[in-house]
Structures are given as C-alpha cells and as structure tokens.
C-alpha cells in the first residue's frame, strides 16, 4: 500500500508505544443523504476489504 495524503493534519502527539492518533472526519447529522453517500463512497473506495472481498456488504453489482 502506498502512503498518501497529508501526514500532519489533525495529528496529536501519541503516547509512548501508541500509534499516531488523529481526529477522524465525520459526516454531519444535518448533511443530505447525497452527501452521506458521497462520504461513504470515498471511504469504501479506499478500503481494500470492501472493494475486493465479498463478505458482509455489497461487492458485485
């Protein structure tokens, strides 16, 4: 997997022995359904398991 994206934005100093922490983006309560879908689509495009394996959620269409 290739590193990508902003390396610093939103990062906090991790405790010793802890992996880096960050404040994950969120989809606002008031967002319209289309925005929710776009946000989810971006996440699912990323996740190897979601785009390639058939377990649990939709895979082939």
């Amino acid at each position: 997997m290739k590193p990508n994206g902003d390396e610093t934005q939103g990062r906090e100093r991790p405790a010793p022995g802890e992996p880096p922490r960050y404040e994950a983006p969120a989809i606002e309560w008031e967002e319209p359904l289309e925005a929710v879908a776009r946000f989810a689509a971006a996440c699912e495009k990323f996740a190897v398991a979601d785009t390639q394996c058939s377990m649990g959620d939709s895979s082939s269409s």
């Binding site: 992996p19 983006p25 969120a26 989809i27 309560w29 879908a37 996740a47 394996c53 082939s60």
Partner: protein, 351 residues
C-alpha cells in the same frame, strides 16, 4: 465533536489509513436473532448468549471513533431485532459515522422507516433470495418472507430511505438472478450479487452444499464483463496486503468478541467487555497475526501466474473451509475458474 465533510480532510484521513492500521469501517453484529432460517446462513446460531446492551454498543462506538472509524454496518442476524437498535443507530449518526443497515426487512415498520430517514442512514440493504415467492421462501425457510421483502422496500423508499437489494448466489437461485436483477432495475433499486457462500462461523461446512455451480458464476461474470463491471485482474506486488483484514476493518459479534474482519474467525482480538476496543485494536497480537497472513497470501499469489493470482483470495474463508488460511478453498477455485473463463473468452473475441 468537530464534524466536517471537507474532501481534503477526508482524503487526508484515508491517506493516513493506508499507512497506519485504522478500522475505517466496522461491522457490528448487534444480534444473532433473525426471523428467517436461510439454509446457507453463516451465523452459528439464531439466539444470543449475554449480548451487548445498547449502552455497551454505544460505548463501543466511542472507541471506534477514537480509532478513526468512519462508518459502521449494523448487521446480525437481523440488527432490527436488537431491542436498542434505533438508539445505537442514532448514537452512531450523532458521532458522525456513516451508518448502513443490513437486514431482512421483516421488522421494518412505517415508524422505523421514518426514523431511519430522519437520521440519514446511508442505505438499508435487504437480502433477496429468489425472483419468486416459491424460491425465496424455500431459501429462507419462512413462508411469506418474499412478500416481507417487497413490503419493506416500499415502506422504506416511501419514507425516503435508500434501499439496496442483495442476493447471495446459490444453487437454489442460480437460475433466477437475471430476473431478480430485472426486478430491481425496474424499480431503480441498486442490486448486488455475492457469488459465494461461506462455511458457518463455527467451521460447519453445511452452507457449502448450496454453493452456486461454476457455470452460474461464469454467466454472472460474463454479464458483469458485458456491462464493464467485472474488474480486470490487477498485478500483485510483493509486500502489499492481500486484503484489509486487521488493517482497515473490524467486526464485533453480539457478545462483544472482536475480529479483524467479519469473516475472520481464526482468532479473536478479545472481548470489548474486558478490554476497550481501542486497546484490542492497538495491542492485540491476533490483529498483527491477521495482517501478517494477509501479506503472506499476497506474496504467495504475486509469484503465481494465471487465474488464481488474478482473483481476490480470502484467507478467512480459506481457514473456515480448510483449516488453513493459506489454502485455496473450493469457493476461491470456483470463482477464479469462472472469472478466468470469462476473461479468456473476451480475449479470444477481441484477438
């Protein structure tokens, strides 16, 4: 909570998730309870033993947010059978998570549909097992379940909830998927087919008796190829991960046992009642073991030529089917064979 949908922030987070293990998405199996008795169901039972309460699940959601999770799929069993389903779904949305609901639809009511629309779940995914009541109800072993599906679809869509229909392809409905796809298209409902059934989570191979024949998969893949939806094989590079097990996904069963993906039952990370989900994810050797197996599987397949190298391999399914997460299970061989035949035919046609 700071909420944002700014694309750059999201892309930055996903970039970090490529470099660091972050459970971007989690499957929460709220309950094993279900009114259907699908012949090939992978769940080990249809009742819970000391299940997590709504309050406990909401605590888990806090931990997931702290880990960087962006979305949860509420599943089961039928997640709607959990007494606190709506509280959990609402809490997940309040915490800024994308929420998907995977259900059989039999417990959907107009009131629930309105609530789901209000909290803007991304979609509700409902299983369709046949193009006729006869086939569908035979698969689910529940008379009337075919009608329940379409009632749920109408009620949810009427309330403004996006619905997705899904079909696990089996030898019971392999002759009907084209008709099911047509029924969905006619109603402009997104439709997905999963070509494989898997052993039960306790290793019982019983569901495999319902596996779809290679020919049915080949027909499905051929249609997908015609429509440009069958992914071309991509070359593997040594050192990459085979899949997101232990890296980008997390699953928690009704009793709080955490796993590095929904299918993985090789070993548990531990139980969220004893140890926080954050600690389990960050410190469990079982998660690291899963990632190591994912890497090994990729490296092995990267050295191979032919259809096996090209298809996605599931170490978790392989473990359940054969006892060895690195073995090629029958489902993988069937799928790879069917896809290879389709690509070969397409190559010959264009030569």
């Amino acid at each position: 909570m700071t909420a944002t949908t700014a694309p750059s922030r999201l892309q930055a987070a996903l970039g970090r998730a490529q470099r660091d293990p972050i459970p971007v998405k989690a499957h929460l199996e709220l309950t094993y309870a279900c009114r259907w008795r699908c012949l090939f169901c992978y769940n080990p039972r249809h009742h819970d033993v000391d299940p997590l309460s709504g309050e406990e699940w909401i605590g888990v959601l806090d931990g997931l947010r702290a880990l960087g999770t962006l979305g949860v799929s509420l599943t089961g069993g039928d997640p709607l059978a959990h007494p606190d389903f709506l509280s959990i779904a609402r809490a997940a949305r309040r915490k800024g998570l994308v929420v998907k609901v995977l259900t059989n639809g039999s417990l959907v009511t107009p009131e629930l549909a309105r609530e789901l629309a209000e909290i803007r779940v991304k979609d509700v995914e409902i299983s369709l097992h046949g193009a006729s009541a006869e086939t569908h109800d035979r698969v689910t072993a529940r008379p009337g379940s075919f009608d329940e599906v379409w009632q749920a679809v109408d009620v949810l869509r009427g309330a403004g909830v996006r619905v997705v229909l899904k079909t696990p392809l089996t030898n019971l409905n392999a002759g009907e998927w084209e008709e099911m796809a047509r029924m969905a298209a006619e109603r402009e409902i997104p439709y997905a087919i999963d070509p494989l059934v898997v052993p039960r989570d306790d290793g019982d191979p019983g569901p495999l008796a319902y596996s779809a024949p290679v020919e049915a998969m080949e027909r499905l893949f051929g249609r997908l190829a015609d429509e440009g939806l069958l992914r071309r094989p991509r070359p593997r590079t040594p050192g990459e991960l085979n899949c997101g097990v232990g890296w980008s996904g997390l699953a928690i069963d009704p009793e709080g046992n955490a796993y590095p993906c929904l299918q993985w039952r090789v070993s548990s990370l531990g139980n969220v009642r004893q140890t926080s989900v954050e600690q389990l994810w960050r410190h469990s050797p079982a998660r690291e073991e899963a990632v190591a197996i994912s890497r090994q599987a990729n490296d092995r397949l990267a050295l191979m030529d032919g259809p096996f190298a090209a298809r996605w391999f599931c170490p978790a399914r392989a473990h359940l089917a054969t006892g060895d997460p690195m073995a090629f299970d029958d489902g993988f061989v069937r799928e790879a064979t069917a896809a290879a035949r389709v690509w070969q035919a397409r190559t010959e046609e264009t030569a």
